[in-house]
């Protein structure tokens, strides 16, 4: 249950008491709201008292009479506007002149309720206001969170893009200044490291392109009957040269064709990510096993490795953007930190699940379950 505070500012005790009675047991709900909203009514007999309560209690809605003993209702309205408070103000007034109505509306009054009002008039007015307020706050909250995530993403992204440039620049400056003399061989390792960083940057850019494809293409998935086994085979073949370099064997253990409605590019991104990780975080002489299983209502993809494995704590961080598990075992392994967050986004689009089984120093299995009826 949520609670909205309503402040009634009126010098007539009858109006204050009436409002309190009418809204006491009133509830507002919306089909998509998790909870209904109830009301607490606060009272003020003068504008001055009203302002005091506004500052102290920060009500959500104010029912404001204009004709008050001291300062007028519109002055209270001006105060709320000046302070930029997020409060909906409704004027209740018996002599609503056009002039006053225009001024009040310009100062941000949301609605007018003529006095005297029936309980039903008050309730329906409160219901509309409550819904409008709820939606407005929800939207604000979502915008804020969205913006924040975007800001974090961009700031980490620029860090990740700049780091290799700085490193390469540093090495080139050393060479330019001939810090280790004229003999090129003295700089061999710096050249190798620079090339390594360029490769890392290239793969980051490739991952970013994948990510933009997924994010911009979210509603339009190109679904077609896809032979999952064939895509797995293509992916295994693509990764083979890299695996040979690392002395890792890859086995595709499923021979029969498994098909499902999917976007072939997305399925390929899934396999490429899982298999390249399985090779990358493996040991010399290790192996990678790929399984595809067709069940009644889902397709299960599994990639298991005999690699370095992870702890539960590391597992928890895995799907965040740019997170790379940093420890002694991974320090010399390059990566963009985007692969698994891309994978997660794709699996989410299919309303699928990712399960990870991992034992440090023994290996890791990624099990992806994609439901067939999406």
């Amino acid at each position: 249950m949520a609670e909205y505070k309503i402040l009634v500012v009126d010098d007539e005790p009858g109006i204050r008491m009436g409002t309190k009675r009418i809204l006491q047991n009133f509830k507002v709900d919306y089909p998509f709201m998790d909870e209904h909203i109830e009301f607490v009514v606060l009272e003020a007999a003068t504008g001055e008292e009203g302002i005091e309560i506004i500052d102290r209690e920060m009500p959500d809605i104010i029912l404001l009479d204009n004709k008050l003993p001291g300062i007028q209702g519109v002055e209270v309205l001006e105060y709320v506007k000046k302070k930029l408070y997020d409060i909906v103000v409704v004027m209740i007034t018996s002599y609503a002149s056009l002039e006053l109505a225009v001024k009040a509306t310009r100062d941000g009054a949301y609605d007018f309720i003529p006095k005297p009002f029936t309980p039903q008039e008050l309730r329906s007015s409160m219901e509309n206001i409550t819904k409008q307020l709820f939606l407005k706050r929800m939207t604000q909250k979502m915008n804020k969170e969205g913006k924040l995530i975007r800001f974090q993403f961009l700031s980490v992204l620029s860090h990740e893009l700049k780091a290799p440039i700085n490193a390469i620049e540093g090495y080139i400056k050393m060479m330019k200044d001939r810090q280790f003399g004229e003999d090129m061989t003295a700089y061999q390792e710096m050249i190798d490291r620079s090339l390594e960083r360029i490769n890392g940057m290239r793969s980051l850019i490739m991952d970013l392109l994948d990510l933009t494809k997924i994010e911009s293409g979210k509603p339009v998935q190109h679904l077609e009957a896809v032979n999952i086994t064939k895509i797995a085979q293509i992916s295994v073949d693509t990764m083979r040269p890299y695996a040979i370099q690392k002395d890792v064997d890859i086995y595709l253990n499923t021979k029969e064709n498994v098909t499902m409605e999917a976007d072939p590019n997305e399925i390929e991104i899934i396999f490429n990510n899982l298999i390249s990780n399985a090779v990358k975080y493996n040991k010399n002489g290790g192996r990678v096993d790929v399984f595809i299983e067709s069940k009644k209502d889902e397709v299960v993809l599994q990639v298991s490795d005999s690699g370095i494995g992870m702890t539960d704590e590391e597992k928890g961080k895995l799907f965040q953007d740019f997170v790379r598990i940093k420890n002694q075992k991974t320090r010399n392994i390059a990566g963009s930190g985007l692969g698994l967050s891309i994978l997660k986004k794709i699996v989410d689009m299919y309303k699928g699940e990712i399960e990870i089984q991992s034992i440090p120093d023994k290996g890791t299995s990624f099990i992806i379950k994609l439901p067939l009826n999406n």
Binding site: S155, S158, H159, K162, A163, N166, A167, G170, M174, K326
Partner: protein, 128 residues
């Protein structure tokens, strides 16, 4: 006796380049690739100065490390070398009183600083 500078950065290339510069200034160096490793080092030795990266294991590893070093060795000057300001527009001004309380670094430097400027700043902190 040569003074020892602790350098902590998770980018191995930056670490290497920084070490080279600092050694050319005539200091001993000891390096760590992350907050945890650096914490282990300070258990057994006291550096004369520390140069820390900001974003390592976590976005604020450098701050946490600075705090821990200062708690153990309040007199060791700390430089945080970061590219964060330029990238995000975030600014940390250690001269404001509010920030002085929680940011324990003595100096913030941009990662792209020229070697001669860096040397000048280090010497100033070490009062050489």
């Amino acid at each position: 006796m040569k003074k020892t500078v602790l350098i902590v950065d998770d980018d191995m290339d930056y670490l290497f380049q920084m070490r080279l510069k600092v050694e050319q200034f005539g200091f001993e160096t000891i390096t760590a690739e992350g907050q945890k490793e650096a914490e282990m080092i300070i258990e057994t030795m006291k550096p004369d100065l520390a140069i820390l990266d900001l974003m390592m294991e976590n976005e604020d590893s450098g701050f946490i490390l600075a705090y821990k070093i200062k708690r153990k060795y309040p007199d060791v000057p700390i430089i945080i070398a970061t590219a964060v300001t330029a990238e995000t527009g975030m600014t940390f001004d250690i001269n404001s009183d509010e920030n002085k309380q929680w940011i324990k670094a003595d100096l913030f430097l941009d990662k792209g600083i020229r070697a001669d400027q860096l040397q000048k700043e280090i010497n100033k902190l070490l009062k050489i």
